[in-house]
Amino acid sequence: MPGRCPVTAPTTAPAVDEGDLLAHFDALVAAGETIEPRDWMPDGYRRMLVRQIAQHAHSEIIGMQPEGAWLTRAPSLHRKSVLIAKVQDEAGHGLYLYSAAETLGVDRAALLDALHRGQQRASATFNHPALTWADTGAIAWLTDGAAVINQAPLCRTSYGPYARAMRRVCQEEAFHVRQGYDLMRALCEGTPEQKAMAQDAVNRWWLPAVALMFGPPDTEAGGADARTAALGAAVSRRAMAWGIKRHTNDELRQRFVDSCVPQAERLGLTLPDPAIRWNEERGHYDFTPIDWDTYREALGDDTHWARQRIAHRRAAHEDGAWVREAAAAYAARTDGTGGEDE
């Protein structure tokens, strides 16, 4: 049985000089230095990181499903290769992130269990079904596009292993967005039926991307009602003070809308929000504010698909239990060296 990992497992700090430790921690964060696994860190910081990294990892794993369902139906061998590579990257990103989470003293098997039991969640973005081939393009262009904007600042997040994992993730995500745009462009340049399929997919994926990929509204300018804004803003402030987050949800959301509108125009697709228009004064595109109701609508919480994603994941895990047991039994017999130990 492996012991706790000495490279990465956190230490328990002596309670005596917690004030000094906190001051040292705050000074490191303020100076833009990274916090490393064996550094002392406040419990709240550790908990927020575990929650955020786990949710991100789970989203990558659950996010494999809507696109994975189209692997066998990709309409050209080139597109099939690209989609396999993309779904594979998602598995990889999930694993990078579980690896980062483990440096905080949690076990990845326990994180997966929490996902399977509904104690931890993946992004609700993927509680929506991928109904046509064009959905694979819309997911990549819009939700991965949102992810890149969301995640780019995380490459400089204060926790070292998370920042390093995110640098790998971001390098690879850029390919996802480009290929999604390329896929949509091919459809838009194809037959009228293909273009209609592309527009339909954008109609269905815009709201999940713009609402859910950035989290709930957290500024008044984001259009939220006062209570939601206050709640969201408090969480964001905490995360920003710790250097986990670098920008508010609404700031990143605006950045996303600003980048998407001209791309949609180039594709000849309409984003399904009549309020989108250039605001000269602000120097940004206006769009329908993500108020709490809009957000809830996008959530698709406890729907057929929300349940289906977890059921699919759980079935894979349970069907594979005997394989994992066999691997453990074989390793125990050979002492993990490949040689027989009996």
Binding site: R4, C5, L95, S99, A165, A327, Y330
Partner: protein, 103 residues
């Protein structure tokens, strides 16, 4: 939720030489029952792009560390020795040691 649970595969630290001229660099970890499975998992996870040259996996519990807790006794000697750095000394004048001239 902390610690390694009973029956979970071991944790392995992964080191990759991503191109010629570089040392192996720590890139993350994988979970795997044995060394062959760990190498295969590390290969699939960390070498999907580029021209990687070599991969090491080391069981995480086999790595011994000098951690920040022990920083004072361990690394204290590294500080306060300014004479280990070239900046401590006067810059070389225009005449180099081999008699090179900048004209």
């Amino acid at each position: 939720m902390s610690g390694t649970r009973e029956g979970a595969p071991a944790s392995w630290e992964v080191f990759l030489r991503s191109r010629r001229g570089l040392a192996h660099q720590h890139v993350g970890s994988v979970r795997a029952a044995g060394p062959d499975a760990a190498l295969a998992a590390a290969r699939d996870l960390y070498t999907r792009r580029g021209e990687p040259l070599s991969l090491w996996v080391v069981r995480s519990d086999a790595v011994h560390t000098a951690s920040p807790d022990e920083r004072d006794p361990y690394f204290a000697g590294a500080r306060h020795k300014p004479y280990r750095y070239p900046e401590h000394f006067a810059p070389l004048t225009e005449k180099g040691p081999e008699g090179e001239h900048h004209e």
